[in-house]
């Protein structure tokens, strides 16, 4: 039995490795896609976002001047570029004057995401108390909502400073103390924490998503040979030989598993070397990879067990692989609540990616135990019927 398993395994393995599609689909495609996705999505981290904002002071009061300088001072910080405009070209408070047109053309010509406009009378409104609510306008490029949001939050921060000094001055006068409008620094002391770990960086996460998606394709090549051997007639010869059926099944399973694990390991090592991916404790990562490949073999085997032809099987396998990858968060994070969340948690992709996420930056690989357990559970639930189904297919 063992000799037979070994013979079939070695022969199949050689056949698969000689075929270029293992490298193309199993390794090159996921890696290239991961690099592209990293380039595209990698800039999303927040601090790398480039924002170009303008500021116009049409008011020319003391307060507006302070605001104007405050905005200008941010130039160059955290990817923000500030372009300043002369107050004269600014806009009237009604928003319909000729000045408005200048702001619009400034947005177009200078490629600005938003312009902070301090309208005439702003300073007076701020100090008057009562009366009209002072209004700051952010003229926005409607196509760049994220950048506009950042500009708004810059304006928001400066407005808070103005409100504070205005309040301190106003109330201080009534109390008979003149406090300098010195900015009260550090009212709030913010401590940033990542309770779920900082998680994988975008690039590594993209790569992990592609790895687990494509391992299903890699594995399916090995499983489907069972059907194609039947179609080409070699299965009959195998069955006629003094080999137990289980030996044939075992060999096919081993080939699929080894190929899947091999592709995964190559990709993750390539990620660590070429993309600086930090996967965390290797023991935990290995356990996760081994368990995930097992579920891939089980799922692809169950499809092969039901399908009529090899071609039909690879079609359905593609659907299963792509569908599960989408649900499981290979492409984009899927909500963890609601029906979608429940469905997502039934996919091996979810557990693999979540496992890697918690391993990144963890001290010990044991954090990944629940994820590995979930993967093994999926593999058993799917794998047992798959074995029964496939064993039945082993007929001349």
């Amino acid at each position: 039995m063992i000799a037979a398993v070994r013979t079939i395994t070695v022969k199949d393995m050689r056949q698969r490795l000689r075929d270029k599609s293992f490298f193309l689909v199993g390794i090159v495609t996921p890696f290239v896609l991961a690099i592209i996705f990293d380039l595209v999505f990698g800039g999303l981290g927040g601090d790398e976002l480039e924002v170009r904002a303008g500021v116009v002071d049409a008011d020319q009061s003391e307060i507006s001047g302070r605001l104007y300088e405050g905005v200008s001072a941010i130039d160059g910080e955290g990817g923000v570029t500030i372009v300043t405009f002369d107050g004269d070209s600014g806009t009237g408070p009604d928003g319909t004057s000729d000045g408005e047109l200048d702001v619009r053309s400034a947005i177009d010509e200078q490629g600005l995401d938003a312009v902070i406009v301090i309208p005439e009378g702003f300073g007076a409104d701020v100090t008057s108390g009562g009366g009209q609510a002072p209004r700051l306008r952010v003229v926005a490029d409607p196509d760049r909502p994220i950048q506009v949001g950042i500009v708004e939050s810059i304006a928001d921060g400066l407005v808070t400073d103005i409100e504070r000094s205005r309040l301190a001055a106003g109330a201080g006068q009534q109390l008979g103390t003149s406090t300098e409008p010195a900015l009260q620094e550090a009212d709030l002391d913010l401590h940033r924490e990542w309770p779920g770990g900082e998680g994988l960086d975008t690039g590594s996460r993209m790569l992990a998503g592609m790895v687990v998606m494509f391992v299903f394709f890699t594995v399916s090549f090995g499983v489907t040979t069972l059907l194609s051997e039947k179609e080409t007639g070699t299965m009959r010869r195998l069955l006629a030989a003094p080999i137990r059926r289980d030996a044939i099944l075992a060999a096919k399973g081993i080939v699929s598993y080894v190929l899947g694990a091999l592709a995964t390991v190559i990709l993750m090592v390539a990620g660590a070397v070429l993309m600086d991916a930090d996967w965390g404790p290797w023991l935990g990562v290995s356990a996760l990879v081994l368990a995930a490949v097992l579920t891939a073999v089980a799922l692809m085997a169950v499809v092969a067990g039901i399908a009529k032809t090899a071609e039909g099987a690879s079609g359905v396998q593609a659907i299963v692989a792509v569908g599960l990858a989408m649900l499981g968060g290979s492409w984009f994070p899927v909500a963890s609540e609601g029906i979608l969340g429940v469905l997502s948690q039934l996919t091996p992709h979810y557990w693999f990616l979540e496992g890697l996420d918690s391993l990144a930056g963890a001290d010990s690989g044991s954090v990944v135990l629940p994820h590995v357990a979930a993967l093994v559970a999926i593999a058993v639930v799917v794998g047992v019927p798959a074995t029964v189904l496939l064993r039945r297919r082993l007929t001349p």
Binding site: L24, V25, L33, L39, V40, L44, G46, D47, E48, E50, D125, G129, G130, A133, P134, R135, R137, V138, V139, A140, P142, D143, P145, I146, V148, G149, S153, D156, V159, T160, I162, E163, R164, L167, A168, G170, A171, G172, L175, G176, Q184, A186, D187, L188, L190, H191, E193, W194, P195, G196, G199, G315, A318, I319, V322, F332, P333, A335, S336, L340
Partner: protein, 393 residues
């Protein structure tokens, strides 16, 4: 003979194109990827990133200061606030359900009034949005801290009794109108964010049309390896007729996919595509680009297994680069320049112009021109390569 041959070109091309379409529908798997998958992915993405789905911010803590900050957060309209306990919040953030969590001490208001700083714990999830939402949260808490911290500052400066200071500051704050920040479009009207099904549907239309047209490259290789092409050449059919026929087949497939997504997304999700004529011209030209790419891959690759890997790589890769998965606005300037090397980004811009800004065909002429250029280059190269491979023994 020549006259006769030319007279038969159109029906021949039509026959080849029709059989390409029939062959696509015979393959059951294609039915899934053409009919079901695009709808599924638009639905999932739409629910995920649709306008009703603001990221959640969790707030743990009680007291005036925290209530005020939570209220200010709600008012921004860009997040949903969930009030919970500390340990529950830690779990929610750890599992990325809540994007950012803030834990404030219960006596935070008092600490600020005592002129001391308050320590807030910012719990950040590992999602991409966390950094951006953190800014929104920080602003809300900073502005909520204004009143209590001014009370503390003045109490220290004036030496007055704390109740009196609080009363005066409260009254003054009440009387002073809040400074408002108003977002306007350059035209003057209110800005409205429309990040939703429209954008997702346009992106997916381009991605799936291109990908599913490209998959047809395998059919072209099959025609060659099975000898169909050679047999056609043996009949009074010119190389150009074959190239044209195969190309028309791919083009039909692409057009079909695009029209299907437009109709279904309009019916199911109420996506408004805009001026019909512009949209039809746009998808016609884009399908031509996709057909050209499919022909090129089909002409260059030797076996259909390799072609399958390459088409997935090119289809998804160009799609991602072209902004079909992530809006182009979020690209860095370098990546945006790179994106313009893909046909997808031009078509996407045109869709935005027509759908969101109510543009007409005149407004998208530049984009259509670029797309046509793509199509001409792809088809030209493919025809030249195919002529060589088809006539090679």
């Amino acid at each position: 003979m020549t006259r006769n041959g030319r007279a038969h070109v159109a029906p021949k091309v039509w026959t080849m194109a029709r059989y390409n379409l029939v062959r696509m529908f015979r393959e059951r798997i294609n039915l899934f990827f053409v009919f079901i998958f695009p709808v599924l992915i638009i639905a999932v993405l739409g629910v995920q990133f649709g306008e009703d789905n603001a990221p959640e911010v969790g707030v743990a803590g009680t007291g005036e200061f925290v209530d005020d900050a939570a209220e200010r957060l709600e008012e921004t309209g860009s997040v949903e606030v969930r009030r919970t306990g500390v340990s529950e919040l830690e779990d929610l953030v750890a599992e990325d359900t809540v994007t950012v969590g803030v834990v404030a001490p219960d006596d935070a208001s008092q600490m600020l009034r005592d002129d001391g700083g308050v320590q807030l714990r910012m719990l950040l999830s590992s999602t991409d949005e966390a950094a951006q939402i953190e800014g929104v949260v920080t602003r809300a808490f900073e502005s909520a801290a204004v009143v209590p911290s001014v009370i503390g500052q003045l109490r220290a400066a004036s030496g007055a009794e704390s109740g009196e200071v609080a009363e005066v500051v409260g009254r003054t704050a009440e009387a002073l109108p809040d400074i408002e920040i108003e977002r306007v479009l350059p035209g003057g009207e209110d800005a409205e964010q429309s990040f939703g099904f429209e954008q997702i549907a346009a992106g997916m239309l381009l991605l799936m049309t291109f990908l599913n047209t490209l998959t047809g490259a395998a059919a072209l290789i099959q025609s060659r390896t099975y000898g169909v092409s050679r047999r056609m050449l043996a009949s009074p059919t010119s190389v150009w007729t074959i190239v044209l026929g195969e190309g028309a087949g791919r083009w039909f497939v692409g057009l079909f996919q695009a029209v299907y997504i437009i109709v279904v997304s309009a019916v199911l999700f109420g996506v408004e595509w805009g001026d019909l004529v512009s949209v039809i011209v746009l998808i016609t030209v884009f399908a031509l680009v996709a057909a050209g790419a499919a022909m090129l891959v089909g002409a260059l690759m030797h076996n259909d297994e390799q072609a399958a890997g390459v088409t997935v790589m090119i289809g998804l890769g160009l799609g991602a680069l072209g902004g079909t998965m992530l809006p182009l606005e979020l690209f860095s300037s370098t990546m945006r320049a790179v994106a313009h090397a893909t046909p997808h980004s031009w078509a996407l811009e045109a869709f935005t112009e027509v759908g969101r800004r109510g543009g007409t065909i005149v407004d998208i002429l530049p984009q259509l021109g670029v797309l046509l250029a793509f199509a001409v280059v792809f088809l030209g190269l493919a025809a030249w390569r195919l002529r060589v491979t088809l006539t090679r023994a």
